[in-house]
Symmetry: C2
Subunit: 117 residues, 2 copies
Amino acid sequence: MSVDLELEPKTKRPPGEPCCEPVVYPDVEREQAERMAKIAKALGDPVRLQLVDVLRKHAGKVCVCELVPLFDLSQPTVSHHLKKLKDAGIVGSERPGLWAYYYVREDALKEFTEWLS
Amino acid sequence: MSVDLELEPKTKRPPGEPCCEPVVYPDVEREQAERMAKIAKALGDPVRLQLVDVLRKHAGKVCVCELVPLFDLSQPTVSHHLKKLKDAGIVGSERPGLWAYYYVREDALKEFTEWLS
DNA sequence: ACTCCAGATCGACGCTCATCTATCTACATA
DNA sequence: TATGTAGATAGATGAGCGTCGATCTGGAGT
């Protein structure tokens, strides 16, 4: 971070020149921005936000068969959303037998909100 | 919120019946989830996250002409991203003369992170 | 008035996403 | 071993997104 910008562009300058000096942006930032954006993107859907919400309210693991009837969506669609959340590292899952249980990875959410604060 | 789920689905049940009782989900939640999802979606792009980051680092208002050269993107694209952020209420803008200045609406970000905590 | 420039808007393109139905996998119970 | 069921995967479709070049808008300076 800490990009040194000139916050006030020059008001008078010879025509043909750009208004601001080009600034080099450190690429280190971009990797983290991409990682955080992945999490934000996963949260950028009302269904997924509600899924996370429900999972957090029930601190333990929640069976998928409990989640599906909460939404007016097909089972594959809910499964798809859960996968998105899992790929972003926001939730984890276990499948001991026939049922699958999902839970929130609080550390991932914490990392995200702290980065944003 | 506080949806009362049965966390343990019945193991044995007559065939033909669904595995879980249907649960009514309060719609009140959905409006807020949609509002928060709108913010998350706006943050779900590395460029926009970096824009927010730069704007916050320079607590005052930053000229668009300073932002454009930070990215390997065309001016219309950066303008488009800024509009997305503005529509989500994350940033605001002023245009006193020829230049446009953008700034972060900290209250919106705070509302989001607190909702997520 | 005329020109120049910063920034927003438009229209197009390719790609991703959310959703569905249909199917597949694998565990459980009889 | 045969059947039923939970959940994941595959394929299709329509909508939305990120990006661009071109154009429009309007303030500044001559």
